[in-house]
């Protein structure tokens, strides 16, 4: 952890740099969403992926620099590793549900609405 004045000065510089980078990435996010499409209102999967990649880069910067995860103790990483796998499990449950459309029931609903 930071103790000497030189180290604190170095930290301050990195905070300013990261803040500026986050500002720039925010502008880039809005710019891509606004101006990429020749026809406007439909979002392709590429744009979703791009938007999420930018968001992931931004959040990584926040986590690594602002939240000091670039030089943290082992126990914190252990806690976060558990969280990460639980989070993946949570998202996997959603995907399992989405890829299990229960065809008979779905057809029945469609027939009823027809």
């Amino acid at each position: 952890m930071a103790s000497s004045q030189e180290e604190l000065d170095r930290l301050k510089k990195s905070y300013v740099a990261v803040g500026a980078a986050l500002f720039v990435f925010t502008v880039v996010t809005v710019f891509t969403a606004h101006w990429w499409h020749p026809f406007g209102p439909v979002m392709g999967w590429r744009d979703v992926v791009l938007g999420l990649i930018i968001a992931t880069v931004k959040s990584s910067l926040v986590a690594l620099i602002f939240m000091h995860l670039n030089h943290e103790r082992g126990l914190v990483y252990k806690v976060l590793t558990f969280t990460f796998y639980f989070f993946l499990g949570l998202m996997a449950l959603t995907l399992f549900a989405l890829f299990d459309p229960i065809p008979e029931a779905f057809d029945a609903i469609q027939n009823a609405l027809r």
Binding site: Y15, F23, T26, H34, H37, V42, G51, A55, F66, L90
Partner: protein
């Protein structure tokens, strides 16, 4: 008593205790927001075109600039928090205070924009889904989402709660005086003012219910004498003339002369008007199969209100040009069914040359041609097109609140929960700002540790917003 490991690190963990505590808490927060993010994915991907309310692209229905500014504000506040922490490490109390004030100011600005966004959605944006599932979006004018009714006679039922109709009487009617015609005792007042209505109703209800219980007891005991004993009176009829704006949700049945409330009140009089006046902003035909989109009810109503088909022509032309664009975009792949349902067309952008259009609509020379005619015929103010929608043609009328569809429901849930986190984080950091001096004077490192922990939470709130902004406002 000294609490151990507040300042110094434990030897086994290498961390002071609060830091482990906050990381465990943040882990649980990741799961909380993770659950909501997975709900978002589930709702979005699971939207069935043609069956469910269409899932809008954020960029079409949100104002981008408040979300954009809020993102920058939160990033700035994150920078301020780490600078405040550094100031404590450098033992500069006043510098710390300045940065902390910056953080609190950022939180206030953030919540201010949030309040603006919420109120704008709830008050200025409405959707009317017509009976054939075409959706007209815009702003409902002059409270016309309510039934306008001229009341002359009211029958209240004492077996229910305080009648809801008293809240729907027009304000300009003043303190309406009701004349009691039937159902109250002779020694009771013959008139009752609106301001005294609740009290009058409660008193009458108490008496009526006591009578009803007495009657029931007599009948049960077999001492009731038919013809001699008088049955309990549980209703009262009152007369007064006043106009009302009635919320259709409270009405179970109605016709030109009568409104029957859910709370068993009956209001008799005359229906003044029951059509919705909508300042048209957009047209959404995503629930209608493409081949039927040129014959929907929306066009009929717009034609009746404007006297011409210019809007229909503009919107369908724009739709076709956009679908061409979509097909080109997916030239090497498969075009999603949702895309071919026809995009959401924002009439405002077609119609307002200063609007922020995403496409090439302005290049259409004829895109503006019909506007002037339609304004005059539609009788709109500020050059808007006003569409009149009879209530029986509207299936669902809503503002852009959580009930407007799954998108709005998850939007309000996630941003609302995030907003609560902003408030909570700001309160904790404000506590360090206003009451931290004592700890600072005792041991500055202790306060620095506390601010670091509070800051970790604040950065997490920022991190959640970094994902919320693109998925809710742009995608």
């Amino acid at each position: 008593m000294e609490i151990p490991y507040e300042v110094t690190a434990r030897r086994d963990t290498g961390l002071y205790n609060a830091k482990i505590g906050v990381w465990l808490f943040l882990a649980s927060e990741v799961m909380l927001f993770g659950g909501l993010f997975s709900a978002y994915v589930f709702l979005r991907v699971g939207t069935q075109p043609g069956f469910d309310n269409p899932w809008p692209m954020g960029i079409n229905v949100q104002k981008i600039w408040p979300g954009f500014i809020n993102t920058l504000v939160l990033i700035a506040s994150s920078v301020f928090v780490v600078f405040a922490w550094v100031a404590l490490k450098e033992r500069k109390w006043q510098v710390f205070q300045r940065w902390m004030w910056g953080v609190i100011l950022c939180a206030v600005i953030f919540m201010g924009f949030k309040a603006y966004e919420y109120s704008d959605k709830l008050l200025n944006h409405h959707d009317v889904k017509l009976v054939d599932n075409s959706i007209l979006g815009g702003k409902i004018l002059d409270r016309t989402h309510k039934i306008r009714f001229a009341a002359e006679e009211v029958t209240v039922d004492f077996s229910g709660g305080i009648p809801g109709f008293i809240g729907e009487i027009d304000e300009d009617a003043g303190d309406v005086e009701f004349t009691v015609v039937e159902g109250a005792d002779e020694d009771d007042p013959k008139t009752v003012k609106l301001s005294q209505f609740k009290k009058w109703f409660s008193t009458q209800r108490r008496e009526a219910m006591a009578e009803a219980v007495a009657e029931k007891m007599k009948r049960r005991k077999g001492t009731w004498e038919e013809g001699k004993d008088e049955p309990a009176v549980t209703k009262a009829k009152l007369t007064a003339k006043f106009n009302m704006h009635v919320d259709p949700h409270y009405i179970v049945q109605r016709n030109e002369e009568t409104l029957n409330y859910r709370d068993r009140t009956t209001v008799k009089g005359k229906l003044i008007d029951d059509s919705i006046k909508l300042e048209l902003h957009n047209i959404n035909l995503q629930m209608i199969p493409m081949q039927q989109q040129d014959a929907v009810l929306a066009w009929k109503l717009i034609h009746e209100s404007t006297g011409n088909d210019d809007i229909k022509k503009q919107v369908l032309e724009t739709r076709d040009s956009r679908i061409e664009g979509i097909k080109k975009y997916y030239e090497d792949g498969v075009v999603p069914v949702k895309a071919l349902r026809g995009p959401y067309v924002n009439y405002h952008n077609l119609h307002d040359s200063h609007g922020h259009d995403h496409g090439h609509d302005h290049s259409h020379g004829d895109a503006h041609a019909g506007d002037h005619g339609s304004e005059e015929a539609g009788g709109g103010h500020h050059g808007e097109t006003i569409v009149t929608i009879p209530r029986d043609q509207a299936r669902f009328v809503t503002n852009h609140g959580p009930r407007a569809g799954t998108y709005y429901a998850i939007y309000f849930t996630m941003t609302g929960l995030h907003g609560l986190h902003v408030i909570g984080g700001a309160l904790v950091l404000a506590y360090f700002l206003f009451f931290g001096k004592r700890i600072y004077l005792k041991n500055p490192e202790h306060l620095a540790n506390r601010v670091e922990v509070g800051g970790l939470f604040w950065h997490f709130v920022d991190l959640v917003w970094i994902f919320l902004f693109p998925i809710m406002y742009l995608m």
